[in-house]
């Protein structure tokens, strides 16, 4: 009898140990937060769920099953106010990944340095549009993997003019998906860019490059005298002009205070247009869905290989420039379910 008990105890021990090692949590795991959809996810981990087919529809049914990670954004400038919390979800279908980002913004800023007609002349507004960026290291990057956006942001100098974004060396690059309410959202895209090392110390954005472009993209809507727009849209109430829908500017049709978009937009064709996007501002918040192929086949893009986990960072620009934007303070991790 005792012999059987010993044997039973040994077998139970074996099972317990096997279970414990199989269920061993990752080191540095983080707490979970409740999500609006009822699912939960570790706060700094974005878990992409597998679905049949992806779209840029932010109301697609599968988002109800995707865990929501709520991440906080902080100002890059010391002493400035924190940015909004961003609810992030992700899904993938074997060929593409989609990310749904939602954040509070009391104002819809979808014009970027637009022209304003005062009844006698045009003036250029200094107002900027809302923007959002998602940043991944293309190569394995220990610094970014532990620091997140801070691993790519060189903002320690007292003079913000000397700050720059990019990598420490040329063999380490970042993939940047930059959605802008004014210029990329109307064409259903986020601009696909990459960042390397800083090329010009005097130019803080010299590390950032747009991906290759075959055709398309925006052109500046400015006349030869550079004192006003060259074109206006068929729909004067629209915040954007799509190529082919513009007509030469006719001030007789403009009322005082009319706003003319500063660019004529066309979708990017080529690697720069790899990221589809759809953003909607409603009820004081932006909801943006980004969609991209897991492997675009382009060298300047990160190849996403489930189930490998990827570090990433998210930045929110509330109608403000690079210096004033807010970013996720900790590294975020994209995982796959």
């Amino acid at each position: 009898m005792q012999y059987k008990i010993y044997r039973f105890v040994l077998l139970i021990s074996l099972l317990l140990w096997l279970t414990s090692c199989a269920a061993q949590p990752e080191a540095g795991s983080v707490s979970t937060v409740a999500s609006s959809s009822g699912a939960t996810a570790p706060s700094n981990t974005i878990t992409a769920v597998k679905v049949d087919t992806l779209t840029t529809d932010s109301a697609a049914a599968y988002w109800a099953n995707a865990p929501v990670s709520t991440v906080h954004t902080k100002a890059t400038e010391k002493g400035k106010a924190d940015g909004p919390d961003v609810n992030i979800q992700a899904a993938y279908d074997g060929k593409n990944i989609a990310m749904r980002l939602e954040w509070a913004d009391t104002t819809e800023s979808n014009l970027n340095k637009a022209w304003t007609w005062d009844g006698s002349k045009f003036s250029r507004s200094k107002d900027l549009g809302d923007r959002m960026g998602v940043l991944f290291p293309i190569e394995n990057n220990a610094n970014f993997s532990s620091k997140g956006c801070a691993g790519a942001c060189h903002n320690l100098d007292a003079d913000p003019e000397k700050w720059w974004m990019g990598s420490e060396s040329a063999d380490s690059r970042f993939d940047l998906w930059q959605w802008t309410a004014a210029s990329s959202n109307p064409v259903g895209q986020a601009q696909d860019e990459w960042m390397g090392a800083q090329e010009d110390p005097a130019d803080m954005e010299s590390a950032t490059h747009s991906d290759a472009l075959k055709s398309g993209g925006s052109v500046s809507n400015v006349n030869k005298a550079k004192d006003g727009p060259a074109f206006m849209g068929n729909d004067l109430s629209a915040s954007f002009i799509i190529t082919g829908e513009q007509t030469p500017i006719d001030t007789s049709k403009l009322t005082q205070g009319a706003v003319i978009p500063p660019s004529i937009l066309a979708p990017w064709v080529g690697s720069r247009g790899d990221v589809q996007a759809k953003g909607v501002w409603k009820d004081g918040k932006w909801v943006v869905v980004l969609l991209r192929a897991l492997d675009t086949g382009n060298d300047e893009d990160l190849v996403l290989t489930p189930p490998k986990a990827y570090p990433l960072g998210v930045a929110v620009f509330d109608h403000i420039d690079l210096v004033g934007h807010t970013t996720t303070a900790d590294v975020l991790t994209l995982e796959w379910k």
């Binding site: 044997r7 414990s20 090692c21 080191a27 394995n140 220990a142 290989t305 490998k308 590294v331």
Partner: protein, 373 residues
Amino acid sequence: MSIIEQPISPYREVKDQTETSSGERATMATWIDERTGLVSANRAFLSWPVPKYVERNLLYSLGGLTLVSLIYQFFSGICLLFYYDPSAEAAYNSVDYITYQAPLGWLVRSIHHYNASAIVILVFLHLLRTFFFSAYKAPREVTWLSGVVLFLITLGFGFTGYLLPWDQKGYWATRVGTEMAGQVPLLGSALAQLMRGGATLGQLTLNRFFVTHVALLPGALVLLLALHLYQHRYHGVAPTISKRGQIRARHSVPYFPNWVIMDVLLGLGLLALLIYLSWHERAPLAFPANPADTDYSPKPEWYFLFLFHLLHYVPGRLEPFLIVVVPLLVIGSMFLLPFLDTGEERRPWRKPVTTAVALFYVAVIIIFTFLGS
């Protein structure tokens, strides 16, 4: 009369019997055997009589299953070596390549990962079985001692292998591990220096851990395993403690297939389990090691968790004491066991003190492992 010189071999008798029973057919096997003696040696090896109570008994297959598990580990490790680059700059990328790009690399690495845990579990259970059956008693002290050292070697494999991916988990766990070693009174700093190859973890550390993992420990393992198995053969299977087993011990069965079949089936079952675990969740690979990331919360591999977690319960000044005393107590007890427990009694329930001490150790290890996880 054969023209071939007959070797003086303990297997000679078996060989002659085999030849008599199978006639004088000039088969390839007899040709090889006449020149090498390997066939008859193999026959003698396989026909080794073992007590009937080992047949279809899971507890007596733990050793064989451990051996099968070690073979899996050896072959999966060799496969990983084809791609692994032991340099601090490239180690992570090579493991990343193995895990996400190399054909079936994920499977091989995951099997290696899960099997490392399986080996620790199996060796531990094998030690427990040997302990509770009092199989360490004379004349099997050397079998027991070699088994204890083999257990320590498997832990050494785990400790050194953890660093090799050069990811955050392995880097920081190793840093904590070497810092713990550095707290050993008198020898600490020299020991830490020996492990790291410098003041901090770097290329030299990776070199040392890699060489230890793929050369020193496997060499030691093979030698000790040979001694362990030879001792096992030399002394035979230890007497059983159950009455039913004692009745069955009156009969013997050949090692092959009666005992081997269980090891083989369990080995295949283990392989299936390893493949399932690998398929269910690939071996983890944390983000690349960042020595500057002081916020990282290190955690050792689960089989060192109990010791790591125990440290939470002692004041900092007592840590060196705990780091030295607990392992010394446990390992020392294991080494001294066959020389302290020299009585005739083999049944654990009739040796309450020895059994209670062992159960206390096991309980502490299991409880603190779970608490630490």
